[in-house]
Symmetry: C2
């Protein structure tokens, strides 16, 4: 009988849920229809959203963008933020209004979406390879001649040139350098060979160099990171001068990340940076360490996932409705509750998160909301169709994640 | 000069790409338009698909479904496969045609999509809590009176009853048991208390018991798994008999998983199983071990992700276009190439995978396709909008993953 008595006491002690059940809830489909009918400004608050929901703190986001734009402008560096982070045409256009040269896109399909929605100055940072994609690349460039494609292979350059010739256009190519662990041709002579090939062909032209060092971006400790990034980027700069020495103009050297924005912008010869995560930030970037020691807090955490407590199996356990499908799990750490002490998240399958509670957090009730900073922003955003943009507690707008799933 | 000579030789030695560039590639948007215009049967082959693409081997899928349906029918057990695995209304309906009682849905929003598309007999396995969702639950049940909702909390039962009373309907509730690590009320007396409460209220009625043991499903080794699952499910069976002993009819006891299909179906009192992954299989399930030792191979791997080699930075390295956004990364192991020896995948960021090559795999060329079995099927499927259904190399159809992203 004891356990039943405890249980019924728990039931009587949950006035929050009883009281709130009278109001109406919206599904995402209903919110979509509200968005189609016009502005939702003022009609929805954070508390009205079905969870899990992806949230953007607009004040923090705008401050992040303004800070990065001002920082790079003062150092006379261009700024082509990476769209793979947000996959959102509205954000890409916001960044251009804030001074960006355009947007990087990881893949052709992401670029197609951005271009369709009016984003200019797109640089595709991954090689576009094979019969499936080259005709599409040519169609994209026909409509958007300022698009730049990254290349790391001579056969691929020939393919692009042939397809461009058939369409009677010229394609802008950037030589992608192997200074990280992903794609690229080795810096120096091999890169020069590729640049010469581009110069020798009629329907492609050299726009510059694409140089991204994945390992540098997340190296922990500022001095370590500076060493790793400089080692990578100086090879890119030397390759740029090598091109110029051989009479091949190379006006663009694009690279760098959120983690190296205050490193690469000091390197002579790097013309523009392509950071992505600074607009949102995440736990992975917080932990890399700032210039002055401590956590990397140059930009604020503007991105969160809102969840709801849906079960309270014990005094010190709460279950929320966000699991492996609400957060990307590619990092070895877990979501961290925002503005709530005494909560430790652990994965509990595809649909749930388990919270171990201590102190005041033990008062969490069924139906209460818990907001989390995500371990890794890019693939977490890619799980959602909308990002709800908050001004304080009000939903000011909801941007569509237009390139969600566009990894092709 | 050496490196440049090697480089140009490499270019001349890539006839595959040169030859194939003449054909036309389809974007997913173009394939969507083909699908809207009618059947794509016979028009597309696997080789036409832009990558990364989610593939289903229809022969293997159909055999998996037939095997499970036959197995459970022979043992006089019902079958309500879990829709969180496929999130695809077409697959849910296929399973019902194969004999399933309906479909489980993890969340309300998933159930809303299935119901809209004509799936009957939906059991929502996660409690539906709070003012955001209860009105929607009532709307769903008004249109689809056979829907069953899981509950583990008395306050929530009162909320559901009040909302159902206002709508002048009755809701079917299943008592969700805490026999795993997610949601539920403890078995025995606490569960009986909740069942009695349901019986005492006019607008809810007891449909039965929901009992899922997450830990059992993936316990490695058949005998270990049998022990863990029996320990969990026997508590559920005893709770069912306890209800009946107190005069509360309990016709339904739903639980079990792909990993325990041949364990739970032997337990007297379990009325139906709710496996999900058996239709697709994944590396996580392969490794749990079968009844007769070795890997768990009772069902075939029908689900894969197709990628393309987009860079060949070294003789023993290939880069493919599938990374953290193409595969779920919640398991501590990596995608495994299907029908290709000498390939070791490692993560290379959001957009790329790195393949370390040995033996014949070293002949992989730019543009070649590599197909991977996924570590964990459910959250991988949730990354895609379409699953391309293959009969051999031909695309027979492409099902929309209608509840993709529906984690609310």
């Amino acid at each position: 009988m004891t356990s039943r008595r405890v249980f019924l006491t728990g039931a009587l002690a949950a006035p929050f849920v009883r009281r709130s059940a009278a109001k109406t809830g919206y599904s995402f489909a209903e919110i979509e229809r509200m968005l189609e009918r016009g502005d939702i400004r003022g009609r929805l608050s954070k508390d009205d959203l079905p969870t899990p929901a992806l949230l953007l703190d607009l004040d923090a986001f705008e401050a992040n963008v303004a800070k990065m734009a001002r920082y790079l402008k003062e150092r006379h560096r261009g700024f082509r933020p990476h769209g793979k982070t947000h996959k959102c045409s509205e954000i890409a256009k916001y960044l251009i209004r804030a001074g960006a040269n355009g947007a990087c896109a990881a893949k052709l399909s992401e670029a197609e979406v951005f271009a369709r929605d009016g984003v200019s100055g797109i640089l595709i940072t991954t090689p576009v390879v094979g019969r499936h994609k080259i005709p599409r690349a040519v169609r994209l460039a026909t409509r958007h001649p300022d698009t730049i494609f990254s290349v790391d292979n001579a056969a691929n350059v020939h393919d692009l040139n042939d397809a461009a010739a058939a369409a009677k256009i010229q394609l802008n190519l950037a030589v992608d350098l192997w200074i990280g662990r992903r794609t690229g041709v080795p810096p120096g002579e091999p890169a020069l060979g590729l640049a010469r090939l581009i110069e020798s062909l009629p329907n492609v032209r050299l726009a510059g160099i694409q140089a991204y060092s994945g390992p540098a971006s997340h190296t922990v400790g500022f001095e370590n990171r500076k060493r790793v990034s400089e080692e990578a980027m100086l090879q890119a700069v030397e390759t740029r001068w090598l091109f110029e020495k051989h009479g091949i103009p190379c006006p663009l050297l694009s690279g760098g990340s959120t983690g190296t924005y205050n490193i690469d912008s000091e390197i002579e010869g790097v013309t523009e940076l392509q950071p992505g995560s600074f607009i949102f930030m995440d736990l992975d970037y917080n932990r890399i360490g700032g210039r002055d020691g401590g956590e990397f807090r140059d930009f604020a955490n503007s991105l969160t996932v809102l969840t709801t407590v849906i079960s309270r199996p014990a005094d010190d356990i709460a279950i929320v409705d966000g699991g492996l499908k609400a957060f990307s799990t590619d990092k070895p750490f877990v979501p961290v509750a925002k503005n709530l002490e005494g909560v430790t998240y652990s994965w509990a399958g595809d649909e749930h998160g388990r919270l171990d509670l201590s102190g005041p957090a033990r008062s969490l009730k069924l139906g209460d909301r818990v907001e989390f900073i995500v371990p890794h922003c890019d693939p977490s955003v890619n799980l959602y169709d909308r990002i709800f943009c908050l001004r304080g507690e009000r939903v000011e707008t909801a941007w569509k994640i237009t390139a969600r799933g566009m990894s092709q």
